[in-house]
């Protein structure tokens, strides 16, 4: 009888934040790849482009002119998916044809005045400014909206249509699907175990070490046990924190440091500006501010698509869309690879 080896034998792993399973089939990395090869990310981006609507001093689609900003800069998305004043679709509805009102605000946040930097190439002090702005926006929009989604699409491969370093913030009048499930799962875990799911999880991972990528006194980055994307990571505070605006000055400093470390490793993995989508999840806001949200723990998800090289990604397609997500290396293999990468960025090493 064979003994179980996660690198050789496919198995299922449970995702306690989404209450579902991922199929881990690490032996699939052995198959040759004859499929689509992506365009490598553009390497030579001008620091200032007079036609780029995100650069300081330029005019945007709305006709507005950007200030000559020298740190972060926030403005309303000129083509928002959510607007504050959409009318209600009405409620005379068959159970199979249900619609609901959706209201909200979409903002864009530039990280830096230069187009040719990314977070890992920014100074720690500059990243702290980004974190401060995230906290400020969460507080501002979270005063009324129940969910404020801060997210970054990095790289053309992830649908990002502008190379200038930026993220987006979409605040909505409803709790979207993903946080709704995370809320339900964390609540049930807390009721059963008396401690927040992700607080317990961070403690366990800090002891086990095998999935840890980087850590400091306040924060931990792991490839979660249930990761679906090849090099997916979860960024967790050690302390119990509900929302990003609760971070102390010290925690913002150590967060900037660990983000720089993680993102430098990501870029170093295939020596390319690493594409990903990332976003923050914390306790709901608006009307939920008055509820007990002790079951929540602040965290960020990083979902990078690359699998084999700078130009070959993991396709989440047929089986994944119709049946279940599947991964081709174990989370432990991914964590080890990231952990062992240098802490200095390949671009600054070259200079």
């Amino acid at each position: 009888d064979l003994s179980f080896d996660p690198k050789e034998h496919q198995h299922l792993r449970y995702n306690p934040l989404r209450d579902n399973w991922v199929l881990v089939s690490a032996h699939r990395m052995k198959r040759p790849w004859a499929g689509q090869v992506e365009k490598p990310p553009e390497e030579h981006i001008p620091r200032y482009d007079p036609r780029n609507p995100l650069c300081p001093g330029n005019t945007r689609a709305s006709g507005e002119i950007n200030p000559s900003y020298d740190s972060t800069f926030v403005f309303e998305n000129d083509f928002p998916a959510l607007q504050p004043d959409a009318p209600d679709p009405g409620s005379d509805q068959h159970p199979l044809f249900q619609s609901k009102a959706a209201r909200g605000v979409c903002k864009v946040m530039c990280f830096h005045p230069w187009s040719d930097v990314t977070l890992p190439l920014m100074k720690k002090e500059e990243i702290i400014k980004v974190i401060d702005k995230w906290a400020e926006i969460l507080e501002e929009l979270g005063a009324t909206y129940p969910w404020v989604q801060i997210f970054e699409n990095k790289g053309a491969m992830m649908g990002c249509s502008n190379p200038h370093p930026h993220c987006q913030v979409w605040a909505s009048s409803f709790l979207p699907n993903e946080p709704a499930v995370a809320d339900r799962c964390q609540r049930a875990y807390y009721q059963k175990n008396g401690e927040p799911l992700l607080v317990q999880y961070a403690k366990q991972e800090a002891e086990k070490k095998e999935r840890v990528v980087v850590e400091n006194s306040d924060w931990l980055v792991v490839v979660p046990y249930w990761a679906t994307w090849p090099y997916q990571t979860l960024l967790l505070p050690r302390r119990h924190i509900l929302r990003i605006n609760e971070l102390t000055a010290e925690e913002r400093d150590s967060l900037a440091a660990i983000m720089k470390q993680l993102l430098t490793k990501y870029d170093n993995l295939f020596e390319v500006s690493f594409p990903y989508s990332m976003g923050w999840h914390g306790a709901p806001t608006g009307p939920c501010l008055k509820d007990d949200n002790s079951h929540w723990q602040l965290h960020a998800h990083y979902y990078p698509p690359l699998l084999r090289s700078a130009t070959v990604k993991k396709f989440m397609v047929g089986y994944e869309m119709l049946a279940q997500e599947q991964r081709d290396l174990t989370p432990e293999q991914a964590a080890e690879k990231l952990r062992n990468l240098p802490e200095e960025h390949y671009k600054t090493r070259e200079n």
Copy 2:
């Protein structure tokens, strides 16, 4: 006060098969696109390629030689994500580190001996052969496995690594996430309403007409009310049918006809071989064959990524991954566009 117009005003729609919501923001189609442009699908594929492991008479990675097949041809995937004999990961488990055994079989099914055809370019009689083979495999693998996922990844954009027309069949010892949710939703609906969800839905859509793309006496193709992908469709029988092997000879004939119609329209939309992932969902099999599965209705999902043209797709990224899926045109707009396309394939029209 504004009156609600789904083409102008964002709103949420409920997906009763997944028990979640999609954000419809049709006004977003107005934004310009400066992001990633895909490589258009390859147009000149040789009918026979001596190096293609899927062609008749060629040798595969395993060393096996394909027969000189002249219709469909099924073989075991040479790099399977599921194998029949993986050992059990064991069960001494913390609730946050749960794993389970996964066993199964992965097969590949070639649709046709020629590499330069696709389903819409095949004769109806040839498509019937594919349907017969699907029914046969479902019966064979479904005798023991609880779930048999038949799916097709079409086009390099959807991770397909071989242009030869083919699909895959992955049978598993577990009920995967997506069908598990569809099972739960259909069961709850049936218990409450006394009729299967998708049987009622097909009746409603056949009356309403605004989301119908094509229909015949046995089948209906709609852009579902809750579609997430821009031109997503749902293929439904009118009769209550649990599994694909229950189709009569007449129903296989009319299914081949409607598939050819739908896929021809898809190709005609941007005059390109339209990429998609599709798959069949029917009542679970194996140990579930003895259960009452009256709440199930057989159906196929088509998930095509293209949004604006042959080379610009919809990116399901940041907001979609972290919060909720979002679409940029209404399902009714998509259905109307597909419905009005010619029934003759653009390639045969050219000749």
